[in-house]
Subunit: 465 residues, 4 copies
């Protein structure tokens, strides 16, 4: 997953972009970058591995002048964890200097890359976004907008994009609308584009609108122009944004994330009650709202059973397994008084590999719980995401390889209850079409397996004749 | 405030100390240090400005071998923010290599320092702890233990200490018992001393006992020996540890911090109800348990109205005002759906200067609150702490300079309710004697104003005769 | 100027490359980089701003496994001082992973870049080397070698290159032979390519041969294959390599650099004697050999009149004027005993802007010199270098804008003597054809002024139709 | 060895001190530090491991305001390589804030430290300088000057000191005068104290005088006051300062270092001619002047046979053997043209362990030398220095354990010639008394073996009675 920000029409755009990225830090901690464009059209950039606050300080931001800027926080979806894959991409093309920040994942990037390479294109990293840049640069369309459109017509998958070409900014969301993108206004002429509304809030911008699937807009001198939309497709918003990824204070897909999560918790209580439960508590902080909803609907008393160490990052997001294990051990501590001798209901949003939850359950038992009942605010994850979330392979997904009873035994809980697919979608809102492929296996696009994949890194040209 | 850790009788003591400091990071973020003593009695140390995790990595910990170690995290109480004041102190004395980690504050350090300097003592920093080291080193008592005792008899104020002399460790708490200190056991021979039980939990040690006021113990080869206690004084445990400072998952002064905070919240609801309130929420995370208690007792629905950015540190603890303001703006974001159009009750633990709360209230009103009712889980703070908490001067304390109605107007809330002193002490538990000087002005020791203070840094000796 | 290294056919190639770059540090201090290719053909790279030793340590080198590696040290010739211009370039192309290290400068890069961009090519930096990579990748020739050849046929200017495509290495020198490149052997199968022989010495490789102008070779599994040579052109070796740039312990263009410089000094003494001179000394260390030659031929006693601070870098090489001034002041100190009351002859290799020399002369006078006679081992520099040396613009070249007498007055010396063009070429060796364009204005290629230059950074495509 | 600087009576004293330390970097590369005192008498300091330029930048220097400053560069003489031993010491005493920078070594520091510790003194590091600080602080004399004097009367050994107490500066040299210390003037009121005159040159100060053995001066508001001198002792200036340590552009002990070294070279040629030698060259740069003198007196032609890599530090000075070996391999490269087929005379200043020279000789033979004749500008080193130079133990000194013929065989040279003790002293100047203990074994003080040494780190006080 990634967080993207664009700022146009207001001075010190890089500094505002920094604030926006700061608010979107939960969407990616692997790398951070900003490209700023000044009045003369000169683009300057900085990218680095790690957090936004680790890579940018006052001096660095001062070296990125201009009233147009694009920013990106990344965690690895495709491509490995190296600086060459950090975004925004910032290159010179026939359209002028071009910067691009991409949230999502293109499923046919491999095939297109193979084709581009055979026609002499050069790739500096392994990210799918670079494919898009080449398609734009090579398009022979008459205007920049048509070049972008022509490029987008060739790719398939998930993309919410902020692009600058010279001093003009574009924002676009793929026709299925997998990933969110919102527009805000700041002062008389400032326009802000961001993955979530929480970025607008920190920047101090007012919410203007959310891009619908297929929306393609141009931003120039404080003016937002809607360009013709991309060819329509069935809407498949990513339900996992609402279940886990987005910040609860954001409005995503027209809904309060907090409100959806509370409804997920209530629905979970209705579907998977925990009759003998004496207290219910969340795995903080991602499941706080769900636990609140569960308590409301079940009548079981809400407590804070786990205390989170504020000096640790978010588990899900770190790229290596080794680090995750180490961090889990130091992330939470149980509150013995709340737990001891009780039958406790633990609410979590989802279950990926199961290892973290197993350790948590052991910790809770160690604090004296008489019974542990785990309730999950989403169905078993049975397949990978091809649209931008870095889920592991099917073999590592415990929901794909084990029955609920087997998982219950593995975790060592007295009972285990998953929310149903229908229950989740009902809570998320029937008015919206969702992608729930990682739960249901119903992928809205072709899957990588269905695409003929060229062998990676095989040269097309022999060294000697 | 500071966090202190001692580990004895178990290999890789520095690594365990690191874990303990990690769990106590909330007690001080200004500097961190570890001294380790190996089998030959050689002491090695590292200290640095900033967080524990910023100063220690695997390589650094490997360079601190030994089965005895002392650690410290600090924020400035006395002395300025410089490396020279980072602890543990680590010096060579006639008793051998001595390391000391101190939580608390000595009120007569200035006068003793003046006296010591006039007798030729050298001071390398400005911390009060250095005074104690000199007193120990200069004592002519026959044993190390008597030297320490003789030194402690001369100082007044708050001190929980872990001291190593050679390979022997001592732990001691002043006779009034201002600051907590607990003992745990790890494996067959490991002894762990720490400010709070949450450090034992992360290290994996089992809770053994909490030091009572005046307790003085020696730890040697896995053996804990109780030495004669210090001369008794009335017990004045710091009530602010329970209200704000300690982690909720800790047991402090024999009580669950979480449990006390919930009772503070319930008592607050009884004393200061908010009749028309539709939702109640905490200023996370320090007030979570209080808000839960308030909701329980008041029947008003608990919500999560403020979302905390996980990538920021704790406001109270940073040494400069400039940084605090900046961080407040990026620390919280309101959840509009929870707040909009409602009469909201906001629960916070205490009010220091009032600036942060004022900004918070504005943010909450900006998210559409119809009415804002602020409820505080402690009385107005009317005076500084002389025992280790870095409260500002009286002039900066809004509770010392303004009436409750004036504060209400300053903050811009519809109603403001403080918990009473009696209510706070009742919730904290009548069985324990507390220091509540910062609320009541009743200081258990002489105050600095009552002590004749020597002029600081005035040389006693002229350059020329 | 840049230093380049290639290692093939021997394990730990990155570590050997590091040593080679270390020995070539004098050729560029702005950035350093290494690309290593392992047995599977996977290429890994690291580049950074600053010295080789600042960018690479044991851990970093261990992360670059493989028996094929390319390295580069750079100072800015074309392109600005940013990481995006650091080499080696490392990209994926239709030929497979391609890395390239370039010493020299292409004079028609701008025009070709304009053409490439109009055909959809993307540029990530502003270096001329990137043009070459695109030309190779886009060539439709049947083999990699023919692709490289086709690309080289389109560019004009100076290039000594080490290229890897997959695990195959190529080394090539332009047909005029501006820049040096040598081949060495290490062990039974190791081949080393480097800008100067001093790199072979440090690596421990034995000298095998120097590439002649137009040589194009392939290195594979310890085998060196001579491919058909590039189309011949008149040989124009850069004479400034011998005068100033190369290390005196290197063999360059078949000659001992030290030997040439001594002959330059002798010739200088013959052409520009200093009759009343009592002592002669060098501006260390670049003019040491010249001063020795001058002393030999003139019979004036050699001394060490200037002591160089070992903790400073080389003046000529730092990119900004501000830094140069600051460093000059701290670089040399005169030896009063040698200078005081004497008529001194100071030998330097060349004069660029004249500011540094002026300061030097003032320092020498301040140390009590009765007379100062400056002798320069090369003619006045009257024009910029277009082939890889970062000389300033003509307006800044004192030799281009002032007469010898004016320069003498500006510097404040009693006499000033330049070596003649013929004298310099005679000392360098009549058997070799040299480029002396910066002295004589006789450029062996078209100059940038003669090429129609496209306007830089002007987009070809409008934003809207 | 160490370099020390004091600046008084001129604003931005820290910046001038920085320049002075920069010029004295050759005297110590292990750590660097500056203490500055402002108009109010507030002392601020920074110390760090490594070079001056690595520890101080503009921002750091700006944080050290004031018109009085003391600086120090260190390599380990006594005490281990840790920050706690970096100087200047900066402490608060009864005289006020005291800073001290020490060049030299106290031979009875151990015994005094033992005594001080038994009287309750606390030591934070293991350097001998800390002993002096305690003695000053504990002295009960009536004035600061008498306190310093009383302290100095108790210590024996080598010390050149710059001390500040409040805003008053003192400079003092022990009565034997082991280490140099000079005074310069800058502007109308600025006074500069430094180890060598090369520091005055870089600062821009004019040379005023050199301190004689036993000189004790006070510097206050641009005024230099000579205080009564220390009790006289036979003068024993360190001859090794002239042979190796000082920079050739300095005036040390009233002599031009360059001039002395040239005379050492001439004397060496007279005592140890090399009849068949065809060329003579130095091991650069420390032996440059000696080789020049040798060439002059012998008539053998001077050449540059070894090229030094400018990007490496000085061999002698790095604290660990491992690093030295690694650096030697990358420090020099032979010039084949100069050496090949010739009988070469290599001039070096001295021989310590012999390993570096052995490697050098192998390198020179590898470059084709027919014969190698090594000539050393000082006698065999047969014992350690107790006065501040970090020579290894006797067992490691090849001159102490092997005959000249054995050393010749070990090094693999055709002939080996040492300068005689008398020859060295004659070249250094008969007018000065020298310490030549490391060559002759005639130590001017008691040696550590002759002093009863207390066991290190043994506590005096039992833990329990």
């Amino acid at each position: 997953m990634c967080g993207i920000v664009g700022v146009s029409g207001i001075s010190d755009a890089a500094r505002l972009t920094y604030l926006g990225l700061y608010a979107l830090q939960h969407r990616g901690q692997e790398s951070a970058g900003i490209v700023a464009v000044d009045q003369d059209g000169t683009a300057r950039s900085h990218r680095g591995m790690g957090l936004v606050s680790e890579n940018f300080d006052d001096e660095m931001l001062a070296s990125l002048p201009g009233d147009v800027a694009v920013g990106h926080t990344r965690y690895s979806t495709t491509g490995s964890t190296v600086l060459a894959n950090a975004q925004p991409c910032n290159v010179n093309t026939r359209c002028g200097p071009l910067a691009i920040a991409h949230n999502g994942n293109l499923i046919n990037a491999g095939a297109i890359k193979h084709e581009l390479v055979s026609r002499g294109a050069i790739f500096t990293g392994s990210s799918d976004t670079e494919v898009l840049v080449h398609l734009i640069a090579r398009s022979e369309a008459a205007t920049v907008e048509d070049q972008i459109r022509e490029a987008l017509e060739q790719v398939d998958g998930a993309y919410s994009l902020v692009i600058t070409v010279g001093r003009t900014m574009y924002a676009v969301v793929d026709s299925r609308g997998f990933r969110p993108l919102v527009i805000g206004r700041l002062g008389s002429s400032g326009i802000v584009v961001a993955s979530e509304t929480c970025a607008l809030d920190l920047i101090g911008a007012s919410f203007h609108c959310e891009l619908r699937p297929g929306d393609f807009i141009r931003i120039d001198d404080g003016e937002v122009t809607h360009l013709p939309r991309l060819a329509p497709r069935p809407m498949t918003r990513c339900v996992f944004e609402l279940v886990y990824f987005a910040r609860p204070d954001s409005i995503v897909f027209g809904k309060s994330v907090d409100g959806v999560r509370r409804e997920l918790g209530r629905q979970l209580a209705r579907e998977q009650p925990a009759p003998g439960g004496e207290v219910v508590f969340a795995v903080p902080d991602s499941s706080n709202a769900m636990a609140l909803g569960f308590a409301e609907a079940s009548g079981i008393k809400l407590e804070y059973g786990l205390i989170r160490n504020h000096y640790v990052g978010r588990t899900f997001i770190n790229p290596t397994q080794a680090l995750r294990v180490a961090k889990v051990k130091i992330k939470f501590n149980p509150v013995r008084e709340v737990i001891e001798g009780k039958s406790v209901v633990v609410v979590d949003d989802s279950l990926v590999r199961g290892n973290t939850s197993k350790e948590l359950v052991q910790m809770i038992r160690g604090a004296g719980a008489r019974e542990v009942h785990l309730r999950l605010g989403s169905p078993p994850i049975t397949g990978p995401c091809h649209y931008g979330i870095d889920t592991p392979t099917r073999a590592e997904l415990i929901g794909a390889t084990h029955s609920v009873e087997e998982i219950r035994q593995f975790l060592g809980v007295d009972s285990l209850g998953y929310l149903s697919l229908d229950g989740m979608l009902a809570a998320a809102g029937k008015d919206t079409g969702y992608c729930h492929a990682c739960f249901s296996g119903r992928y809205p696009t072709r899957t990588p397996e269905q695409l003929v994949q060229p062998r990676r890194d095989t040269p097309l040209i022999p060294t000697t004749a």
